[in-house]
């Protein structure tokens, strides 16, 4: 009897916790939707900003954020795959493998603002790029790296030992086994890891505010030096901080909603293969 009560109590507490988490999310989405939906229109996405954000759209903010995250993905992918392969294939000793993971976890824990300061020192000042889309993209790539690498490492570790032995038994050299088995498996981790990671870094403001993005006056970059971009999170940041005009408020929430939808799109695309594999496992 007592056990049953404890069991029920435990269930009630976990259900309550789940409910709290879900309702916080629902409130955020609801609030942003209610305030931002009125700003959404075809024009909002296809016209550039006018009057310091009070009117016009966010065309170049979307473009700027797209450039930043695409750069981040392209810079991160080869490095993440390399680290994943080094970890899963070439490092034989357990504690060097653990050291690699530890470095990744530490990198994952570095506050975003420190990436911003680091980027300002290295890219903006030392390399003399000024504010540039490339420095922002590279910083976001650094922030993306742990998530993507950990996803790739997990995929590689999930390869059945038998497959490696069977491939070796057919006379494939290690480089051929990497090409035939490890690489194709890594791509799955690269895609899901990148989508999950990008969903997070797409909204980061701190790493790009000193290094890559400005509030107004940029369109598409033409070079590397002194070619900043506009971006969604920085636009939200500035409008929220400085604007007292109610018209700007509606644009602010519209931008927030756009960013939210972008991030959701990434998360949902990342979720599809997981759901599929869960269903497949269920049927096995």
């Amino acid at each position: 009897m007592k056990r049953k009560i404890i069991d029920h109590l435990f269930r009630a507490i976990t259900a309550l916790c789940a409910l709290v988490a879900a309702s916080v999310l629902a409130v955020i989405i609801g609030a942003i939707w209610r305030k931002g939906a009125s700003a959404m229109s075809w024009e909002f996405f296809t016209v550039q900003m006018k009057e310091a954000g009070v009117s016009g759209g966010i065309l170049y903010h979307i473009a700027g954020t797209a450039i930043l995250i695409l750069t981040a993905f392209l810079a991160c992918a080869p490095v993440a795959i390399s680290i994943g392969l080094v970890h899963g294939v070439y490092l034989k000793r357990e504690h060097t493998r653990r050291a690699v993971m530890l470095v990744l976890y530490i990198l994952n824990g570095v506050p975003a603002i420190l990436f911003g300061i680091f980027g300002m020192m290295v890219f903006v000042q030392y390399l003399g790029w000024g504010k540039s889309w490339l420095s922002g993209g590279l910083l976001l790539a650094l922030m993306l790296l742990p998530t993507v690498t950990v996803a790739i490492v997990a995929r590689i570790e999930g390869i059945p030992r038998g497959q490696i032995e069977a491939a070796a038994g057919l006379g494939l050299r290690q480089s051929q086994i990497v090409h035939a088995i490890y690489l194709p498996r890594s791509f799955g981790g690269l895609i899901t890891g990148s989508l999950v990671g990008l969903a997070r870094v797409a909204g980061e403001t701190a790493p790009i505010m000193f290094t890559a993005t400005i509030f107004a006056g940029a369109t598409l970059p033409t070079g590397i030096k002194e070619s900043p971009v506009l971006s969604l999170p920085y636009h939200i940041f500035i409008l929220a901080q400085d604007s007292f005009d109610p018209a700007a408020g509606s644009k602010l929430w519209g931008t927030a909603l756009t960013l939210l939808l972008l991030v959701f799109a990434f998360s949902i695309i990342a979720l599809i293969p997981r759901l599929k594999s869960a269903v497949a496992q269920h049927h096995d």
Partner: protein
């Protein structure tokens, strides 16, 4: 007696302080089926894996003694273990299927070796599948995922994949232990057919199977060779 294809001399394998094989010496003749039998932990698989240097892939093993393949030592610096494994194929206890179609699985080895031209692959696949007695069952669905096959068919698919690489020897590590009786009979019959052209070394724990398919059987116990029986001759 003709020259043996594999000649094992004083082969010992140690893992840490444990002895897995203790100075085993034996000769394996060209062609036919050579059986290795014994209780689990007797060192059958270790001996089998010494023939294509799969032991190299297990860290921490020390191999001493000598194995000659066609009269030249296998454990010599000049031997490329990867090239060797293409000549001495292996079939495992559980069928190992790679993600992808039946066709992709059969051609997995040859495709990555780069020894066969891309347009010749279908021909190679058909020959290998025919040799493994699987062609009639899969010829209409070569592009389907290999996981749609039954376990018995998967094991024959693995055999076809090995055969596609045209090996001289195939090492089989209890290849029927995961199969039902019908599939087992099919694989046993297949082993008999293949042994006319290829030397097969079969690890089994099943005496009846050994008596049915093997020409000779070496029995192992605690890492030592106990005796060799010949079913093809009255006594060896």
């Amino acid at each position: 007696m003709t020259k043996p294809i594999l000649h094992v001399r004083n082969l010992s394998v140690h893992s840490g302080r444990r002895t897995l094989l203790d100075s085993v010496s034996l000769e394996i003749p060209h062609g036919g089926v050579f059986g290795l039998i014994g209780p689990s932990g007797a060192g059958k698989s270790t001996l089998l894996k010494s023939f294509n240097r799969m032991l190299d892939l297990t860290p921490g093993l020390r191999v001493s003694g000598q194995v000659d393949f066609h009269g030249s030592p296998l454990y010599h610096r000049s031997v490329d273990p990867d090239a060797l494994r293409a000549r001495i194929g292996m079939l495992f206890q559980q069928p190992v299927i790679f993600p992808g179609s039946i066709f992709a699985n059969v051609t997995f080895g040859v495709r990555h070796h780069g020894t066969v031209r891309r347009r010749d692959l279908p021909q190679v696949a058909e020959r290998a599948l025919r040799d493994a007695c699987l062609w009639e069952e899969v010829k209409d669905r070569l592009q389907l995922p290999a996981t749609t096959l039954s376990i018995g068919q998967q094991q024959r698919l693995c055999l076809a994949r090995t055969l596609a690489c045209s090996p001289e020897v195939i090492l089989m590590d209890e290849p029927t232990s995961a199969l039902d009786p019908r599939s087992t009979a099919a694989v046993e019959e297949l082993i008999g057919c293949l042994a006319k052209a290829i030397t097969i070394i079969l690890v089994t724990h099943n005496h009846a199977q050994a008596a049915k398919v093997c020409g000779r059987v070496a029995s192992l116990s605690s890492g030592k060779l106990e005796k060799i029986r010949g079913f093809d001759l009255e006594k060896v």
